[in-house]
Symmetry: C2
């Protein structure tokens, strides 16, 4: 699926459109003007037009947007009409909390396995998902296609696990370890660097926004 | 502390400088050329110079950077030489995982209290931190100064809690609920929208980066 390249800033905004439109649909709104959408989402009407034009545009002059159609279109653009096979590497508190978040609220993502190095949890299951030995990760990946691996291991293990994931051909890594992974270009990595985020917040606490 | 406004992009990069420099110091590096720093951190030497010049610049022609001095300077800029009083609102899996992360790895942040609405955990303690009734949050804030409130309640409670936090005068909110809080401008909010992040990753899985 190759197409005109859309900037990262636009892609980062799409999930927010989806969230706001999903809320609007739940409130029973069928159609909104670009002004209303703008007010609700906090981007200017012109920004919204520009963003959506990357994907063909959806609004109609004098009508605005159909909430459900636009929501469905953005879901489709993001790929949320498909299903994804997911694994977790690292079953500590954060791994378990995130697995719970996925199971609770992200219906398209199916957690097939979790991996850890601690003998006491290997062979058990967490939230109904089997926990395997991290030593068997490469082997598992040879036999099972994985779309997204969630990386929640301690920092010092993260690069080694990422190498295994790359070698095993996962498509994307959702990385929560506070390091910048060295990974082949064809693998997509999205980082959630909690400490970076907290430290930036701290800067603004001291200096104002 | 008012000063020349530095762009959000620069501030977002500072914690990464800090991370890389901290690693370098741990490896025993005393001094690095701007080229080495550039290679390690993945920004161009010119980008690095520009970033650091916002704060007076730290490199010396022909010498490069002193690792420890630069690290300490960035810690100071971010405000990590100070201590911060923190509370958590929402003691579910994610709240507990994040509290554990803060206690484990963020020495300057002191969790003074956690709040929840569930009677069965009110009055207990989590990771050594007392859990109070969320109904008493406003009252607690009247009596105790809080720098950062971490918001890990379910979506439908988030705005109400944010109103209490704003009313109680917290300085910053670290928000993990998937909504865009309406909050007075003087309060700093940093969002970690997990679902947005996962959905952007999903886009790139389907379309390439």
């Amino acid at each position: 699926m190759k197409e005109r390249k859309v900037s990262r800033a636009v892609i980062r905004r799409l999930p927010r459109y989806l969230r706001v439109l999903t809320d609007m649909e739940a409130e029973g709104l069928e159609r909104i003007s670009s002004g209303e959408l703008s007010e609700r989402i906090g981007y200017t009407a012109s920004q919204i037009r520009q963003d959506l034009n990357h994907f063909g545009g959806f609004g109609q002059q004098g009508y605005g947007y159909n909430v459900k159609d636009l929501k469905d279109a953005i879901r489709g653009i993001l790929g949320l009409t498909e299903d994804y096979r997911m694994i977790f590497v690292g079953c500590g508190r954060l791994g378990r909390a995130l697995a719970n978040f996925v199971i609770d609220s992200q219906k398209n993502y199916h957690i097939k396995a979790m991996f850890d190095i601690r003998p006491e949890i290997i062979g058990t299951s967490i939230l109904g998902v089997p926990v395997y030995d991290e030593a068997g990760l490469k082997d598992y990946l040879k036999k099972n296609h994985v779309d997204i691996a969630v990386l929640t291991v301690p920092t010092e293990q993260a690069q080694k696990v990422a190498d295994d994931l790359a070698c095993g051909g996962v498509t994307g890594i959702w990385n929560f370890a506070p390091i910048d992974l060295k990974i082949p270009e064809e693998i997509v990595v999205n980082n959630v660097h909690l400490s970076d985020n907290l430290h930036a917040l701290t800067y603004y606490i001291n200096h104002g926004e």
